[in-house]
Structure formats: structure tokens, C-alpha cells
């Protein structure tokens, strides 16, 4: 992979999509993780869904960031970005809250990405990934060139997401907010991760 390229794994994409779908009337957000070493390119290998309410309030966001940080160091992952889906589907521009959190992540990771989910493109049969990515350039967050964003095996990814919906497994997704409502729920989504990895065909070498 080249400098400035960003790769988004099926696992990360699927969970983000599921998160946005689970709370269609709220804004949702989460963190993008990488298990690859820091380099010129960014490989987003996983994500942690965080909130579906009061995104702009500090305490729970701070708590979640701290806990995910700890979990990352335990599992050799790094926080490399932030995603958000706005409640109002017609507006997928980053909110002040999104910029603030992305900025914090950028302090620790100099090729951090900010990913906005475009709700208007989330319908069955849409041929284009419903995402808009931003990167830090000249002290502001600028739109990233689409050609530097890699979603390998896009069709397979779409099919996996569809399978998760038809099997009802999309309800397995737990975000940090739901975890706080019931702490026996696992915000690291081990169960769901395993299901998704099962669906990803090993023959294609997709990770």
C-alpha cells in the first residue's frame, strides 16, 4: 500500500454499517482501529461502536476513549480514526463534536481518518460505499481523494452485511452505550466478530 492510502476491512465496515442501522433515528459514532503497525498507509482492521445518544457530552465519551485505549494496548491495536453517522440523513458533514474527537485522535496518530457515514446511500442495492472520508491536511480536515480509499472485495462485503441482516445476527452488535445500560454486554463484540470472520471466505485472503 502506498503513502496516504487507507484500507477499510470488511469487519470494520460491517460493524459500522450495523451500528448505523441499529439506531436509525439517532446519530451514532465509534472508533476505527488498526492492528497493523504505524506506517505511511492506514489499515482499518476493526472498529468499536461507541454511542447512540448525547454524542456531544463529555463524560461517557472520555470514559469510552479511555477504555478502548486500554483494550487496544492489551490487544496490540491502535486507534486510527473516528466514524459518525448523523441522525439527519441528508447531512453527512462532520459535526463540531466529530471534529473535536478526530482532533484528539490525530494528536496520537498522524494519519488519522475521520469517516462520515452517508445515510442517503444506505439502501439495499446501492453500488457505492456510503462513506465519506476526511484526513488532516494544512491544519484542517479535508475530503480525502476517493481513489486512495480501498475497500477490498466490496461485493463480498455487501453480501456479508446482507447475510448478517437475514440471519438476524445484526442484533448481536453492542455499542458502548448499550454496554452501560447492561454491563454484561460485550462492547468488544467478540461473538459478532467471530460470526463475521466465519462469513469472510478464507480463500480470498480477506482480513
Amino acid at each position: 500500500m502506498k503513502m496516504g492510502e487507507v484500507e477499510l476491512s470488511c469487519l470494520a465496515y460491517a460493524k459500522m454499517y450495523l451500528h448505523a442501522s441499529q439506531f436509525p433515528r439517532s446519530s451514532v459514532n465509534g472508533l476505527l482501529l488498526s492492528s497493523s503497525p504505524a506506517g505511511a498507509a492506514v489499515c482499518i482492521t476493526d472498529c468499536v461502536p461507541l454511542l447512540h445518544s448525547h454524542l456531544s457530552l463529555a463524560p461517557i465519551t472520555q470514559l469510552a476513549l479511555t477504555q478502548v485505549d486500554v483494550w487496544c494496548s492489551q490487544t496490540q491495536q491502535r486507534i486510527v480514526g473516528y466514524y459518525q453517522a448523523n441522525a439527519c440523513v441528508s447531512d453527512s458533514s462532520p459535526t463540531p463534536c466529530a471534529l473535536k474527537i478526530a482532533e484528539k485522535i490525530f494528536e496520537q496518530c498522524n494519519n488519522a481518518v475521520l469517516l462520515m457515514i452517508d445515510g442517503e446511500k444506505m439502501f439495499p442495492g446501492c453500488r457505492v460505499p456510503p462513506i465519506v472520508m476526511y484526513e488532516r491536511k494544512d491544519a484542517r480536515w479535508a475530503l480525502k481523494d476517493k481513489h486512495t480509499i480501498m475497500l477490498r472485495q466490496w461485493e463480498e462485503t455487501c453480501s456479508i452485511v446482507n447475510q448478517l441482516f437475514s440471519s438476524g445476527d445484526q442484533t448481536l452488535l453492542v455499542d458502548f452505550d448499550s454496554h452501560l445500560d447492561d454491563i454484561t454486554k460485550d462492547w468488544t463484540n467478540q461473538k459478532l466478530n467471530a460470526k463475521i470472520m466465519e462469513l469472510i471466505s478464507p480463500a480470498n485472503g480477506n482480513v
Binding site: L57, A58, I60, L63, Q67, W71, L180, D181, D186
Partner: protein, 288 residues
Amino acid sequence: MNIEKMRDKLRKWREENFRNSEQIVDVGEELINEHASKLGDDIWIIYEQVMIAALDCSRDDLAWSCLQELKRQFPDSHRVKRLAGMRLEALERYEDANKLYDSILQDDPTNTAARKRKISILRAQGKSSEAIRELNEYLEQFVGDQEAWHELSELYINEHDYAKAAFCLEELMMTNPHNHLYCEQYGEVKYTQGGLENLELARKYFAQALKLNNRNMRALFGLYMSASHVAASPKVSAKVKKDNVKYAAWAASQISRAYQMAGRGKKENKCSVKAVEEMLESMQITMS
């Protein structure tokens, strides 16, 4: 599931104002299609409940048929007109919806439901400042409308106007002193506003929320974090520092205990339990 059970479920969801629309459509559609004759007068309120849930699930076919039944039975009803308006909203025909609501209000200027729908339309269109303005006007007239106060607090939080959000929550806490959620949300708003005074206030309200419901994890974490921050502040007296260290330590032990109990026997929770334990340890180090 038999009819009684289905009816009871729908009633429970109605009374608790749950928005589990997919389940409501599941249960409600079956009830309506197969057992309509056995529902008696209940059927009208079930039509209403199912119609709204159907709109939520983009089931316009189902919403339309429920609406037709209601229109037939209650031809001049404002309540049914409002449902027709909601359907137009779901189809994003906001102008038509507004016309309908305006006609209700012409007939009956005190119709709160129609006014609130108009405000919801502003919200759906992303016109937050207008929604806020209209909601404020509404609340001047209908000061006791809890739902409206809460909606306003949400709008202010989204706009990062924490001072005004706090004001709305204060109203809600006054009229609902036993509601732990309002106390906890108030704590979160104060914490977000920041500064020593606000952090101490936040801590107090998190504590109050815990008094009302000792299983509110957000309040517990909130108490832990605000007390820790106050204790770590160079501006506080030794006594205040000591007190807050005590509060934070108490909260930490409660959190630990809660997670130990949650993690028992569930392999998948090991990660979240470990993460919390490490977090508590690391924060303790920074505090001392």
C-alpha cells in the same frame, strides 16, 4: 402466541411508550389480520399503535390500511388527522403535512399534538434553531409539558448550548425529583461545561442519581471521573482533595464489584472487565 398474550404485549408497549416498532408491527399485524373481530373496541387504539410503528418501519402499505380503518370509524377526528399528517411526514411530504396540522390548529388552536408535530418537522429538516425557537414558544404556553422540556434539552445538547440544556434539565428535575436519569444527565452536562465548580456540581448530581438508582452505571462512572478530576485539581484545599479521593475510591470499588459480578461465568466479558480494571488502576496512579 395467543390473542390475550399479544394484546397484553401491545398494551404494555403502549403504556411504557416503547418504540420497538418492528415487534409492534410483527405482533400487531397478525392480531389485526387474523383476530380483528375478537378485539372489541381495543382495535382502534391498536390500529393507531400499529400505524405509527408501521411508519417507523417504512411499511406504508400497513400504515395506509390502518389509517383507512380509523378514518372510516372516526371521520372528523383531529387525532386521526394528526396520524394522516404523520404518514405524510414519513413520506417526507412536509409541506402537505404542515398544511394538515395548520388546518387542525385553525379549528383548535390549543391542539398540542399538532404543534408538536410541526416542531418535529423542523427537526427532521435539520432546522434546529427554528425548532428550538418554536419549542420555547410552546413551552411558554404549556409549561408543564415534560416531553417538550426533554426534547428541548436534547436540542440544546446537540447545539452545544449546555447552559440552556442545564436549565431544561433543572425544570425536569424539579417536577420529577425521583427520576435518576435527569440527575445523571444534568451531571453529564455540568461535567461537559467543565471548570472546578461545574465538576463539583456534576459529582453531586451523579451522587444524587446513584441515591435514586444505585445501578446507574453512567452515574457511577460519572461520580468516579468528576471526583477524580476535582481531587487532581491544584486549586482545591487539602480537605476537598481528601474528600474527593474518598468519593472516587468508593466509586472505583463499586465499579469493580459491578464488573466482577457481570463478568462471572461469561467468557466474552473478560475483555471489557479487564479494560475497566486497568483503567481504574491507571487513573488511581495519576490521582495520587
